[in-house]
Symmetry: D2
Subunit: 342 residues, 4 copies
């Protein structure tokens, strides 16, 4: 069995395990105040032309919850597309901090400026929550990405309407290294108020690096982390990982590998005239197949069945920093055989 | 500089790093549903004669928050001694889930049955919160431990008053392996409703194993974990660590080492007639010294200054799974010299 | 200016003010434990063949918040149509207690059994909230009502899926006394787990009577009321009002009057071929008019503009226990003149 | 039976019921935006030389919850004496909004500046909540009052430590009209950031007037009210009551009457050498009597037994705007007889 189930099924990249072994008995101060965290922050800050605060957190849901909890007043709400991770797959973590998520349909997993305007206009008095934050993901939950122009337009609408912009970068590596991308890390820092650089899905054991660019949000962020149970005693473990990932461009190389594998799949799938449910841009591909084909593929491959429609279903294939390119070719070849056999 | 600051200043035990390296490229399913977590659970369950559920969480504050959030109805409250970790050092994490902590003085960091009775009697109608849970730590935040008899009495009072009993075992290893201890893991399972076995402070990178013994609390616990941002994508990383810790008694050996080092310090400190703020039983020692002595020690050693009283202060010395026994002897010898010099 | 703006613009019915004057200096115990509350409960219980608990609360948002807060565990969610009051017009009061509202489109403000089934099927694991409660309003926020058969079908689906059913009866009087209705108070008690009988919008100063029919929800409800700031010191004031409202069928007579006035408007509007946005069944009517017509009507009448569509808008006309029937006729006559003038 | 149980056992003052009758059929806009609320605000504002915002709320617990919820960020905490109403008698309403109450002993129900300083000093990093608000009551829960000098000193400490000051005025009338008082309403506006003028316990049906003096706290307060279920549909009912209470000094006259009755009791009790648990200053008196004396008094009078100590108990006697002075004299005379009989 080979797994295209997700991008967090293997432990971590060797460079990371090597650092852990190297510093195994070094005594560090706790709670992320050590020099590895400092060094990792410096390495990341090299990518920015603006002044940012960086905090290392444990995982994606935790990062989303902490950032949103930190920003919003009780009566303020966050805007998201229906498919946003915070809306669907976090067991109400945002609502558990007291905040409504105002949802909108979006296009291919991405929010559009008119949708934001429309939500703002509908929420005009104290009988309704006050929209105060827009949440987007890049790459999105359906594998698509925002262009620089799209992001700039969203930021503009946010500024005009007193809304903060938060970008969930659980898969930011894959977004920034795919062919269609024209954004840099620095662009993202300039065009959002806060975002994070995902480690868990790009070669780390655990860890996400939250980058706060808006000064008014920097204050007391560690209080919010701690209150939400996100302040790791051994914070240096996450620091070291980002130290490894941001040395010699490892972070981007790993993401590039995931995209390369995805591209191999896309080329093959297109040749087989397979239908894509969303534009294939990064390391998450959504394709629609006959259910009996899916059943046969499942004998050899692991993947998620996303949605079902009568005798067809959409499945998700995910490649990662450690996907075996040969396995991608094998998958295409197996699929081709199954189609021909039909 | 040598650090007696805490028991989480080094990365992790070699057996743990070896397992991570060994399984580096193995593909595992996510969110703690993998076979390493299963295996670790089996290894831990071998210690129990009762049927328990086990869940692996990231850290102590997170574990406390999740367990308490899971148990209590909105109007229900948790009872703790003033010095309880949830009351002092978790930035209101429990209150952030909506629950009051009812505090009482305790003796040497431990709650007493009469204090529980008294709180229950005072909270008798709907104008006050309803006490529903007693929170204790073993070892406590001041390094003391509960005896089997003490724990049994607390459990009895809890049962008589419809209260759950939750034991914070962030430092359970140190408690169970110290000279004064007469409790086993199985005793604890029988005498509490839920507790956890701390990994972070006993050789793990991260991770605490929550053990639920009361059937009525087992239901839907994974929902509460996820909602609180505590469900790690790479759950197998924590599973593997407990696999290592519960193979060949490693967990207990590490804790025993910490206690051995502490004992070395205690013997030396007693010989020097140093005053202990709390009975020295486990790997946390609280001693009171003149401030100028402390200042001189700080040139060579790292430790926490706990409380200040005019020209004296109480400091905390913590030993760990990886403390160098020679450094303990050196500390005593240095202290002796400083005292003589005075 | 005459107001069709809402059904809570006048103080209260005379019978209520008379009771307040009559008992002005009577000394009563506080917090709803007085004999007026008891008497009012008895009068209401006469309508039920099942055993219920009754609690008097201050207002609608407060009642919705308290009931839902009482029922749900942190990870559990409530299902509602998009137009549900809890979803739109309560400033995130439900999310503020930590719970997600899962929304669905509905038909004419009413939820359908297939929508409930579909939501339940989509929420199948711990990465998503667990649906546990269905919220409906009768009459709905758009003035429509549930038939006995519709309510029975919803209850059946709820029971099959371990969901509680909560009926918001802020305008229950109007629902139960309209021509299309075939439900009794007792039917509602049998077909829901909890509901409330709205007083504020049917002649009371303040006050809603929450009726809990499911025994498992009765426990400790007063704790939840108090914690949410809903336990009135002078609870007897609300008790007395329901005493008045449930003596000699006053509650139903007042609602019948509101419906009578609405019917007068409906007849007139239909004769003028005015378009209804929702079937006109109770005391809330939604009609679509040219914007310039609306502007002219606003010189003489107060009403809410509900939604705007280019040069037309939908307005809401509300009649109440104290609406002047002549003013309804006058409104129709004025509208007719304005249409003819065009 | 005559009740000294509390100051909210009778419906309301005649002037209030008269206003309700007078305006019974007047059509008003909802949610406190009517002209009665405006007029009441003007009448109250006449007492202030500073610019304030006024909002009418339903009750004390609700007012405390809403004000504190509005002010604090999630990780911020409120400081209160142990006996503070928010700490003891609100069923964890404050914690339910996510905030810790940091408690201190106080003297006679009043907080002292050194206690505030000490709490601030102890809470110095992100592992602990951040104190941000001091909560006091005037008169206090044990019937004592703050002098102008005491309040000024507390305000000074608050300003030096970036703390807001909130004064719970559920019984402000009684405080401001007692013999020992040297504060005016305007002093209170100048020496706090927010406070409220209690109506429920001084002749109103329901209602407290929150006065916000600190500009930075005025923003969006109605959102917080609504989210907490505190925005009454018929807001004008509360407005009218404060219109009545702040016309011709009725509010102060009612409170003065309560104090007069209390003074009558105090004089009598002192003559009988009865022990006061707290200095008797306002309309709440706490006296300690033999249990058998209490039992005999309970045959004729209603009052709360506050605390029990072996064969004695402390009881609370409360007088109100409508207490019968003769009944006070009768109580003393009855007590005297019982003592003599012994």
């Amino acid at each position: 069995m080979y797994s295209f189930n997700n991008d967090y099924s293997e432990i971590a990249h060797s460079k990371i395990l090597e650092l852990l072994a190297k510093y195994q008995f070094e005594q560090n101060v706790g709670y992320g105040l050590d020099y590895h965290c400092e060094k990792a922050k410096e390495l990341i800050k090299n990518h920015f032309s603006v002044d940012v605060d960086i905090h290392f957190l444990v995982g994606g849901t935790s990062a989303n919850k902490i950032v949103i909890d930190h920003i919003l007043r009780p009566y303020e709400a966050v805007i998201s597309v229906d498919s946003g991770h915070i809306n669907v797959h976090e067991t109400g973590a945002i609502e558990a901090t007291g905040h409504k998520i105002i949802t909108t349909k979006g296009i291919n997993g991405k929010i559009t400026p008119p949708e934001i305007t429309s939500i703002v206009n509908e929420h005009h008095n104290e009988h309704m929550v006050m929209p105060r934050l827009v949440y987007i993901s890049n790459s999105t939950e359906v594998g698509t990405i925002y262009t620089k122009d799209e992001l700039a337009q969203i930021k503009k609408i946010c500024e005009e309407n007193n809304l903060y912009l938060f970008l969930d970068g659980a898969r930011l590596g894959s977004a920034l290294t795919c062919d269609d991308n024209n954004l840099t890390l620095d662009d993202i820092a300039k065009l959002t108020d806060v975002f994070y650089i995902g480690g868990t899905k790009n070669g780390a054991l655990i860890g996400e690096a939250v980058v706060i660019t808006n000064s008014s949000l920097k204050h007391n962020f560690r209080y919010t982390i701690k209150q939400n149970g996100g302040l790791l005693a051994k914070g240096f473990i996450v620091g070291m990982q980002f130290e490894a990932l941001f040395t010699d461009n490892l972070y981007f190389d790993l993401a590039r590998h995931a995209n390369l594998c995805a591209k191999c799949l896309v080329t093959g799938l297109k040749a087989l005239n397979i239908e894509f449910a969303f534009p294939p841009q990064t390391n998450q591909l959504f394709i629609t197949l006959d259910n009996n084909l899916i059943k046969q593929l499942q004998e050899k491959y692991l993947f998620e069945v996303w949605t079902c429609h009568n005798d067809k279903s959409t499945i998700r294939l995910v490649t990662s920093w450690t996907t075996n390119l040969k396995k991608c070719e094998e998958f295409i070849s197996d699929l081709q055989k199954l189609i021909l056999k039909k």
